[in-house]
């Protein structure tokens, strides 16, 4: 048997950064290969080279016995390798159907006019093909949330029946329903003798989904694992080059908090997203908020930060101030890490320095006005250092960072300014286990300093592992509150989610 894809001695550099030193990789028919490694280890780079998004500096690729040099991602998809990218790969100004058929609108042209009905029907079929029923081809993409957009992207790629599917760090943005859809797609690829390259930072997931596993570190292929060799500690050790202690969540199981309330939500009502939501958030408390993607938890995060206006109800701080917009929220020490990182949390074509400084300037600007290099550079460097952001320097553009390192920049932006109340929407999305551990430790120490932390997440283990109190939402309603406890079980929680 021949591999479907062989990549030999691939090298890729970005000015002074060596993203891939000399990496070789094969994908066999029916194989689901996992790719794991720390942030910036080169996973997105190697897979996007295979999928035609960028070209290697040197090296050779053979796909189905032929030399492989796709001109673009679209070209690659048409010829047999499709990729789901790490961040949003859809365009928000147009409909779902137009997103799916972007590169081939011509096929729906009748006498020079696009037959939208036919296109929408085809799009509905493509979506149904992967088991998505609640998204229509005619819907404007802007009306969809992050998860639904990802599903549109998956439908678009799978519809082309590629021989190889590349999935780059997608699952952490999906709730269980979304994940199940993707897992079904992967199973289908395996049983049909096609192949999948699957990137994730979730060790359990990757061990569950994949048949083989390749570990990358600093742009080099470190080791391969076969299914029977899968063993979390061994994989972790080879990822980071040293041993990491097994569990990284909080070790205590007693809920604790200060008496004082930091933020009060009262009778929040917002379309279908929030229905009469009232919650008190205490100082020194980590409140976890979980549920399915549509349960309203992401809207809640926005409303708490003043970024979305509720139809009725209020958010007030300890001193009675109403949070009506982002500026007021920030004045009262609230910070917000948004879920849609590349759009809402970062200005991509701007330096790390500008992105971190933009929220923290008040802290060092003279007279809240004059910004000097002498004050700003050390401030930014401190964040880069304390979060160990892997970059060429503070002036590097954020768009050039790996996914996890972008997330660290967002953290630096909000933690650096000393936020008293942190609203974190999917905070550990795309970050590797080492960084996750650091972030959890950071959350614990912020809690000890008396800060209020609101953690919205799709990851149940993370919520159970960190929260003093776990709030489960469903259809905009708070269904249940669980205090932190050792005896809490997934099954019990999930009951209230679905």
């Amino acid at each position: 048997m021949e591999p479907i894809l062989t990549m030999k001695h691939i090298r890729k550099t970005f000015s002074s950064t060596v993203a891939l030193g000399d990496v070789s990789l094969e994908l066999w028919p029916g194989e689901v290969r996992g790719l794991i490694g720390e942030n910036g280890s080169g996973k997105s780079t190697i897979s996007s080279i295979a999928a035609g998004m960028q070209k290697p500096d040197s090296g050779e690729m053979i796909f189905q016995g032929q030399p492989w040099a796709p001109k673009s991602m679209i070209d690659a998809l048409h010829r047999g390798i499709g990729m789901i990218v790490q961040e949003s790969g859809t365009i928000s100004g147009v409909t779902v159907a137009e997103n799916i058929f972007l590169a081939e609108l011509d096929q729906f042209k009748r006498f020079g006019v696009i037959d939208r009905r036919a296109m929408n029907r085809k799009a509905d079929e493509a979506l149904a093909g992967i088991g998505v029923k609640d998204v229509q081809g005619s819907t404007p993409l802007a009306a969809l949330d992050f998860q639904a957009r990802k599903l549109v992207e998956i439908a678009k790629v799978v519809m082309k029946q590629p021989q190889i599917l590349v999935v780059d760090e997608t699952t952490t943005a999906l709730s269980q329903t979304g994940r199940d859809i993707l897992y079904d797609v992967i199973k289908r690829f395996r049983s049909e003798g096609r192949a999948v390259l699957f990137i994730s930072h979730d060790l359990e997931e990757i061990m569950d989904v994949c048949d083989t596993l390749t570990v990358l570190r600093d742009g080099a292929r470190i080791r391969d694992f076969k299914k029977e060799e899968f063993e979390p500690d061994a994989i972790r050790t080879s990822m980071i080059g040293r041993e990491l202690q097994g569990d990284y969540y909080r070790s205590d199981f007693t809920p604790s908090r200060l008496e004082e309330i930091a933020l009060k939500a009262r009778h929040l009502q917002s379309g279908g997203a929030l229905k009469d939501v009232s919650i008190d958030f205490h100082k020194g408390e980590i409140v976890g908020i979980g549920g399915l993607s549509h349960c309203g938890m992401h809207s809640l995060g926005k409303v708490l930060f003043g970024a979305e206006k509720p139809e009725s109800g209020s958010v007030t701080t300890a001193d009675g101030t109403k949070i009506t917009n982002e500026t007021v929220a920030m004045k009262h020490g609230i910070g917000y890490v948004a879920k849609d990182r590349d759009v809402e949390s970062l200005a991509l074509n701007t330096s790390i320095r500008d992105n971190i400084a933009i929220a923290g300037m008040e802290r060092y600007a003279l007279g809240n006005f004059l910004v000097t290099n002498a004050k700003e550079k050390p401030y930014v460097d401190r964040q880069i250092e304390s979060l160990s952001i892997k970059c060429a320097g503070r002036d590097q553009l954020v768009s050039q960072l790996s996914g996890g390192n972008k997330q660290k920049v967002v953290f630096g932006k909000w933690i650096g300014r000393g936020s008293e109340i942190l609203i974190l929407d999917c905070p550990t999305r795309g970050v590797d286990i080492g960084v996750k551990k650091a972030m959890y430790e950071l959350m614990t120490s912020l809690k000890k300093e008396g800060k209020a932390i609101i953690m919205i997440s799709e990851e149940l283990p993370e919520l159970m592992g960190m929260a003093d109190r776990l709030i489960i939402m469903k259809d905009g309603v708070v269904m249940k509150e669980f205090p932190r406890s050792e005896s809490l079980s997934d099954a019990e929680i999930i009951k209230y989610m679905i």
């Binding site: 002074s16 982002e326 701007t350 008040e362 809240n368 932006k413």
Partner: protein, 329 residues
Amino acid sequence: MAQTNLAKKNRTRELLVALLPVAALLVLFGALCLTVNLKGYRLDMYLKIVFNEGVVLAVVATGAIFIYSLGSFDISLGASTLFSAAIGVMVYNSTQSLPLMICTIFGVAIGCSLLSSVLASVFHIPVFVTTVAMMSVLSAVAAQIITANGGALGGIGIPATVVAPLDNVPFKLIALLVFTLICVFVFDFTKIGRRLKFLGSNPVCAKLSGIKVNVYAIVAFVMAGLGVGLGAFLTLVYTPSVTPTTAGSIGMNILVAIVFGGMPISGGSRSRIYAALVGGFSYILLNNILKIVIDSGAGYGISQIVSAVFFLAVVYVTSMNYRTKLLPR
């Protein structure tokens, strides 16, 4: 070792790209000297023209950088230059007070800018509509004032002696320099400027970082108004009379100048004040060269077409560079 070499090479390349507009300026300067010489015209006369036109364009464009850094634009700045100069002349002629005239010019210029920004940001009328409307209204009103008061001459003016003491190179250079320094200071070393640039880079993220979009749009327009005011005053210093065509094309020329200066029209963090300075003079040089070379031979207007083509080429190249950096990761 190899890595640092590579990094150095890269930095050199970035520096070269940044210096490209300056190189273009120098080349154009050489070209002007050459063409003027070949035609046997007087170089000192042309340098004077270029200097005077260049200072005005550079000043107005420098102020306009604040608007352009938001990824927005304003082509009515030429019309408001004309309008404020016209009102300034009227005020001088009825009060005989130079200080009052100067205050009026700045007041009117900032007032026009404020009006544009309020229309655009508070009432959410698309910039492209407000700016065209402002341009038409302002130039129509100015023309009306000028023809109503200028009589058969078709222009109004202040006595040349009033501003004659200021009509010299040092004064204009100092005015340009001081204004540029103020703008650089605000743009790069204050919270206001930094937030403006960030807003231009990603408005959604800026809003979620506590930046009040409307407030900063107004700030940007006020800074542009300052540039317009100074530009209008310098125009009067150079030619103490105002006709309906005075400063007419500045609105469009700013756009071209800023792009010539190496700033992306999408604004954001790569916005630079010096783009207006370098680009302003480059544009005036190019314009004068084209006038000498083409208009003396062929029909009028070809120079406009040539500079338009040039402009599109520059925009295309810069935006191409920009697009390749937008890969989703």
